[in-house]
Amino acid sequence: MQKEHLFKVLVIGDLGVGKTSIIKRYVHQIFSQHYRATIGVDFALKVLHWDSQTVVRLQLWDIAGQERYGNMTRVYYREAVGALIVFDVTRASTFDAVLKWKDDLDLKVTLSNGKPVPAVLLANKSDQSREGLRSQIPKLDTFCKENGFVGWFETSAKDNTNIEAAAKCLVEHILAYEENITNNTDPDVVALPGYNNNTKERVRTRCVTCSKF
């Protein structure tokens, strides 16, 4: 039987780092040089056939870069289970803002066990940096460890580099958490996808059992 998951994933980061472009590339396989600021929030849905038994539906919430100021992010973050935090490798200030976004995220949303939602760091516009971040890799590894990111990727929405890999990494962590939750709870109250089928079967079994007696 196929399991279906629905995850709300936030894409956040400073103005003009390429959040919308990353989503457009990931969901619609397109890239445009034309810049158009997102106002408020935008949405996109990506359906992943994770394995033969699992379908993952990712609701990607594209939050406008200027929204970190003020309290509107609280509304946007609600019930999110993962985040992609994006910065632009050609602009240092957008990297400085990464931790502000991470703090804002952790302050306003947590998983059901109270832990921070898994977040992946995206170093976007890698096509524009000459040497890339190769020399910085050890630094970014420690940066991620110290600040609670589950991983980081050098991405380019333009060249379609590493975006699928970054999303895959995030989904793996979200699924791992989900499984963890499922295993730790009372098996009698697990609400699996396909729950309705199960109940029907159970009811039918019971009826058959009943009629036997």
Binding site: L15, A37, I39, G40, V41, F43, L45, Q59, Q66, E67, Y69, G70, N71, M72, V75, Y76, R78
Partner: protein
């Protein structure tokens, strides 16, 4: 960047925090008015916990320029500039009513995400110029309704979230109210030209002198003078220039006014 900067008389904000508050407050006002316009849509949005800022931020901040087809944008802005902010609220209410206003329509969007998707892809027939304008006109939401709701939402806001960062002055409902509140002063009427063309040397005007009397006599029958005369303009004798210039100052007032509001709009507080 966004045309809405012109509408600073409705939002008036000095920082992005207060402009966010303003948009949230307007969202609450819109949602409260929706209860009257379409209880079905109101109940649906409430049930699925869809905060107004999730669907109306772009509508209001861009005054529907990113939502409606261009012909409708022009009509809506025309009405908005003339009649004021109630038009923006009415457009929002019409769209919500059309998209979510009946049980049948809600069957296809059972959920928060589905509803937001639906509001991002409004059916073209509801945005079509003639239909939309008619609906806007017929919708019984007045300035007083908005002001009343503004006050009660402001009260609610203070109870639940504390003081606002921005103390907004009263909204100006339409061009008439703005003109009545702030009649253009003599100072406003002065021109501040950025391109100044030198008046040609007097020798040239001496050459034209014999013609001057002719043109003056013909003046009454000739078409109206070019309000933006070039120094070489044959219909404008050069020694007449200074009095006619002061005349033009007054003629140019509407243009001057719009120039000034444009330049003050350059501070993009939403970005």
């Amino acid at each position: 960047m966004y045309p809405l900067r012109y509408m600073s008389s409705f939002f008036v904000s000095s920082s992005s925090v207060s402009s966010q508050e303003a948009i949230q407050l307007d969202g609450e006002i819109l949602f409260a008015l929706l209860k009257r316009v379409s209880p079905v849509a109101h109940r649906h949005l409430k049930k699925h916990k869809i905060d107004p800022i999730l669907y109306m931020t772009e509508w209001f901040m861009c005054a529907f320029s990113r939502t409606l087809p261009w012909a409708s944008v022009l009509r809506v802005w025309d009405m908005f500039f003339c009649e004021g902010v109630k038009i923006i609220f009415r457009v929002g209410l019409v769209l919500l009513k059309c998209m979510l206003g009946s049980q049948e329509k809600l069957k296809v969007c059972q959920g928060q995400y589905e509803t937001m998707e639906l509001l991002r892809s409004i059916e073209p027939r509801y945005m079509q110029e003639a239909f939309l304008v008619q609906e806007i006109i017929e919708l019984a939401i007045s300035e007083r309704d908005i002001e009343k709701e503004h006050l009660s939402q402001l009260r609610r806001w203070k109870e639940t979230r504390g003081e606002l960062n921005c103390k907004s002055p009263p909204r100006m409902h339409g061009a008439k109210a703005i003109m009545a509140a702030e009649p253009p002063s003599r100072q406003d009427l002065k021109q501040h030209p950025t391109i100044i063309v030198e008046v040609p040397p007097t020798t040239e005007s001496k050459g034209k002198k014999p013609k001057k009397t002719k043109t003056e006599k013909k003046k009454d029958t000739s078409p109206p003078l070019n309000p933006y005369p070039l120094p070489n303009d044959p219909t404008l004798p050069s020694d007449n220039l200074s009095p006619s210039e002061s005349e033009h100052l007054q003629k140019d007032t509407p243009l001057q006014g719009s120039n000034q509001s444009l330049s003050s709009a350059e501070q993009d507080t939403y970005l």
